[in-house]
């Protein structure tokens, strides 16, 4: 915990944005370790894959477009600091009323939490309670979140892809291609990463994992490929229109499972009616919607990365011509 605090503090004071990005990566990895300590293995898994992997890459990609160093000047640091300190002190006073850490009598532990733990074994019959809550009890929420991810992708595409006037971006040599060791090791690594993603996808009911994590891991293998062999090469290997359709298809799969369960006489996203037996129905439903989640998340991450990376060439050439004319 103290390490987290130190990292956050140094992040507040460093001026080199590249260093800050690396610090956010370290921060995510540390918080993932903390989540393991707190028994939240699924969450730790996600944080390690997303925070330390994808978001760091995205930040670095953006930095190549926006410049590495930030302005020395801060906005009224004294006022900002005093606002922060006052808010912080008020929050600390608030914690005096919080239940003690780890107490099993805390309000959060006495409502639906025990129900999920006691009943999910009988209702759904899969060992990972997190998966059954995610996919079945709170399937509505998860559907909403998948839609949010999908919407964010549409936003990124609208901002960066469609506004591009010229489609001609010169083929640049892949930055990492010259490093023979990197290239060979990554070539060996990519298939196991993809395989691991599939394992995480279909093993989510028994161990930590599921559609969200699997999607991110799968996307990271594609991103690794893109970093080694260049964006254009990846666009040839992974057809963009297909990826876009797949992203929508994932949401469609999830939503239509709900509709099918309605047609079978149940409530929206009530999987028990999907098969003759309640429990089998739940299993079928969970596997299908996890597949939908996995497809959407994976394609979303791939799309976001490729769109950002493709933008690099254009932005840099644009800003240099602007500086030239000015």
């Amino acid at each position: 915990m103290a390490f987290l605090a130190i990292t956050a503090l140094s992040l507040a004071f460093t001026k080199d944005l590249f260093a800050s990005v690396m610090l956010t990566g370290i921060y995510s990895l540390l918080s993932a370790a903390f989540f393991v300590l707190m028994d939240a293995v699924d969450v730790a898994f996600t944080e390690a894959a997303v925070g330390a992997g994808i978001s760091t890459i995205l930040m670095v990609t953006t930095l190549t477009m926006t410049g590495r160093y930030e302005n020395r000047k801060l906005h009224h640091p004294v006022i900002a600091l005093s606002v922060v300190v006052v808010t912080g002190v008020m929050l600390v006073i608030g914690t005096m009323d919080m239940p003690a850490f780890g107490s099993d009598m805390a309000p959060a532990q006495v409502h639906v939490g025990p129900y999920y733990i006691m009943q999910s074994g009988e209702d759904i019959d899969i060992p990972n309670v997190v998966t059954s809550v995610l996919a079945s009890y709170r399937g509505f929420d998860t559907f909403g979140e998948v839609v949010v991810v999908f919407t964010a992708v549409i936003g990124v595409l609208a901002l960066l892809e469609f506004s591009r006037k010229d489609n001609q971006v010169g083929e640049r040599p892949a930055p990492m291609f010259q490093h023979k060791i990197l290239r060979i090791v990554s070539k060996i690594l990519i298939p196991p990463i993809m395989l691991f993603a599939l394992y995480v996808q279909f093993h989510g009911e028994y161990g930590p994992g599921g559609g969200f994590q699997a999607g991110v891991i799968f996307a990271s293998s594609i991103i690794l490929y893109a970093m080694l062999f260049g964006i254009e090469q990846t666009r040839k290997a992974v057809s963009m229109p297909v990826v876009k359709i797949l992203a929508a298809l994932g949401v469609l799969i999830y939503g239509s499972v709900g509709i099918v369960s309605m047609l079978n006489g149940g409530n929206y996203l009530n999987y028990s009616v999907l098969a003759e037996n309640d429990i089998t129905g739940q299993h079928v439903g969970i596997i299908i919607i996890e597949l939908g989640v996995g497809i959407t998340v994976a394609t979303a991450m791939i799309l976001i990365f490729l769109t950002f990376a493709r933008r690099i060439g254009k932005t840099n050439s644009n800003s240099s011509t602007k500086e030239g004319t000015a």
Binding site: T66, K73, H76, L160, F212
Partner: protein
């Protein structure tokens, strides 16, 4: 003992406030987004701290254990992380567009340019 009972929450508050400070005090849009990420993660840590039960184990059912941590916050945070990265990507995309339009991602420079434009329009 009471100090240790609240220790987690205090670290959360510290992290949250450092994120908040970065958001207000720094003018660089990318840095602001990083501050938001820190803020966001502090909320994740708060939720996960709440879900912990002392003596419990990860919520994967097994005959050998009887006490589990609360799975509900785990679910909420797991999805929040993925949604968080998607929305951060959207923010970064906006920053890239701003860079293309203004040639900078520093807040005060952008404001200056806006004022100049208004002045020249009049």
């Amino acid at each position: 003992m009471s100090f240790l009972e609240q220790y987690n929450y205090w670290i959360v508050i510290f992290l949250m406030m450092s994120g908040f400070y970065i958001v207000i005090a720094h003018g660089n849009l990318i840095k602001k987004l990083m501050g938001l990420t820190i803020f966001q993660t502090s909320v994740f840590i708060l939720y996960i701290s709440i879900s912990k039960v002392i003596g419990g184990t990860a919520p994967i059912l097994d005959d050998r254990y009887t006490i589990y941590s609360n799975p509900l916050p785990h679910v909420l945070i797991l999805t929040a992380i993925v949604v968080g990265v998607a929305t951060t990507a959207l923010g970064l995309a906006l920053a890239v567009r701003i860079k293309e339009a203004y040639g900078t991602v520093e807040e005060d420079v952008i404001q200056e340019k806006d004022l100049q434009q208004e002045g020249s329009a009049e």
